[in-house]
Point group: C2
Chain length 408, copies 2
């Protein structure tokens, strides 16, 4: 049996008749090489926003079930158009809505989770020699109601379909060339990463998220589906996201990422840290505020200082909660900083190479950048700093870890 | 249980956000009167043509299965939008694609026939107090493939749904005020017909077809669903299309219709009419050419003259076939006329009133209009004439049968 490949084309890749024609050429030439192909497509660029715009004209509160039914038509139309274009070239193909596969989801409209993808229907048509086009971003509940999977959901469709079909690989065609060692907008000598592990990709958060939705990477990791991600506009090398390989450990740091969505709150001179933290973090959890980095240290007088980061849009609410909890307690000081950046160095090699943290702190100190908080995982070190120094920090660290050079 | 009504809104009625808002107001005010409402919608005006345009850019030969999948999204999106608009006004509603009802069809893509409409799902939601919005013009095959019902298919969806739900009536909202005694563009004193029988509506062909698709009328007749058809832009009286009522026979002629889509072929001096006609009409049927009026008469020398009408676009092909069949036979003359009009007078009263044909011929003769062929049914007389006199004929007959006056 010839190898089975899932290819996904994003909204900009199918954003016009000309671009759809290019996609069709790419698919056709791949099919001629003897691969069995299942294609997942997004809506044509702009369609989803246009439809949201229409819906909002009837009021700010949009019925989410109906919005999903509306939005899903964008991908459905695009899938049919691609199949029409393939047929016009004499290539046998068939398009499916998510519900026709079927792709089953829970009923969390607007952000549904995939529960199962039935492979039989798609496989039957692939085995008949057809290219199967599946509308991305959508599924149906057990009750046959149409759901959508949230932003970037077509990536998830592609990986889930690849897993269900036991595909050899999943190729994500998008408008960027792949994953870089740092944001090329910030760091002019950032280099395309040829191959990266699922875990590194997940830790690279901001770098990765622009290219590939995190849920898709997690799913690919679980089913060990190799993902290739690259541009549909050029014959680029792209980036492979795969399971860990022995040679990968040779690279101590794979990339530097930068998140700018957080704010920081510091509490000084807490008398009873366990009780304070339990009370505070429970209250924040109750209103769905996600706390990220948490750092705690003892002062010389036996009190505790606590620093943590939260999404910037929650700063105001979180401050009010902290003030309420600590208002009767003497000496406690609450300080906040709205604009912080979290700079992360990520690399599998950190597990075996010590001294990465020290190198990172030295580098930032040399640039006069104060580190406000630190968090680490097995393959990542993150420093919370003043957002004003974010670009400077990324460039300095990219240089420090020699990322502009090709890995040996 | 409160009465159940099916309302259908055509493409121009939902052609913009403003117009959708008007439809929603109309639906909401009807719902407040305590009716249970199932709404069938077309795609927003222009959407279907826009999508056909997109599809054709990939080649003239468009895969019909995929075209159906593409086109069906237009109604699906509109159904969801209407439900979003109702929800925004606090009115409980739910939208369904054809396949979610489900509406089952055969697999004749582009022109599918409805085989069944399952009422349970819609009824359950109606009974929960929701307004149910169904995407018109579409269904699914037993294999769950999306089909469309052909031009005017949303009317058919509405009538089939009304039949399945055992609705009290089916209201078709469109951009015209109803059915008139003649085309108001041609005949300035044409009058709105308040009530007409299914059979008359079917025979009024051109007058009716502009308002209501013939298949829908046939279906409504079979299930005895009263149809109301009128404008969604005004509070118009509209036209009721219902089963025959005793009082209807009082009106000898209900309306004058005019078809301008045919051409005429005459064959003179055929030696063996039975064999000739069999041969000719079989050949035409083989290539799907529909023959309408057929008139045959004997000449004094024992030969036969034959005149028949066919769709104008088939004239060239039909002539070639006739020439081939009769090329060896001496004396046979083939004459064609591209532009003919078929003027029809329709009315239930013809069954009991004789002399309608005579009155019609006299009237046309008085205007100097030659009648080239005649065909009759129980409630219709049609005359084929030179298209140049079509308007004149309609006006003269409208006047002759006193249609401008209100029926007594």
């Amino acid at each position: 049996m010839s190898s089975l490949i899932v290819q996904k084309f994003g909204g900009t890749s199918v954003g016009s008749i000309e671009r759809i024609s290019k996609v069709v050429e790419r698919v056709a030439s791949r099919a001629r090489k003897g691969h069995r192909l299942a294609i997942v497509v997004s809506a044509m660029a702009g369609e989803t926003d246009r439809m949201i715009g229409l819906a909002k004209q009837f009021g700010a509160e949009v019925n989410r079930r109906e919005l999903d039914a509306l939005l899903a038509t964008g991908e459905q139309a695009c899938a049919a158009l691609i199949s029409i274009a393939l047929s016009a070239k004499g290539i046998a193909s068939i398009s499916f809505q998510g519900g026709q596969v079927p792709i089953r989801t829970d009923s969390n409209f607007g952000n549904a989770s995939i529960q199962s993808v039935a492979p039989q229907h798609v496989l039957r048509h692939l085995d008949e020699g057809k290219i199967v086009i599946v509308a991305g971003y959508q599924g149906v509940t057990d009750g046959n109601e149409i759901t959508t999977l949230g932003r970037g959901g077509s990536d998830l469709t592609a990986v889930a379909l690849a897993a269900a079909l036991d595909a050899e690989q999943c190729e994500i065609y998008t408008d960027v060339s792949g994953v870089f060692t740092a944001d090329p907008q910030v760091c002019s000598d950032a280099r395309l990463i040829r191959k990266i592990s699922y875990d590194e990709m997940l830790e690279l958060a901001s770098l990765g998220a622009k290219v590939l939705q995190a849920r898709s990477v997690q799913l690919a990791k679980r089913y060990m589906i190799p993902i290739w991600v690259g541009s549909s506009f050029e014959d680029a090398e792209g980036t492979w996201v795969t399971k860990e390989e022995l040679t990968m450990e040779g690279t101590v740091v794979s990339g530097i990422s930068c998140d700018r969505k957080d704010a920081k709150i510091s509490l000084r001179h807490l008398p009873d840290p366990i009780q304070s933290m339990t009370q505070l973090f429970s209250a924040l959890a109750d209103i769905q505020v996600v706390v990220d980095v948490i750092v705690q240290d003892k002062t010389t007088d036996g009190k505790t200082n606590l620093t943590f980061t939260i999404p910037r849009e929650n700063l105001h609410t979180a401050l009010k909660i902290a003030q309420q909890i600590f208002k009767g307690i003497p000496d406690v000081e609450i300080i906040s900083e709205e604009k912080v950046a979290k700079i992360s160095a990520v690399g599998l090699g950190m597990r075996t190479h010590s001294g990465v943290a020290a190198k990172m702190f030295q580098c930032l100190a040399r640039e006069g950048i104060e580190v406000w908080a630190v968090s680490t995982s097995e393959i990542k070190i993150s420093c919370v700093i003043d957002e004003r120094y974010a670009e400077l920090a990324v460039r300095a660290l990219h240089d420090q870890f020699g990322l502009a050079k090709e890995p040996h």
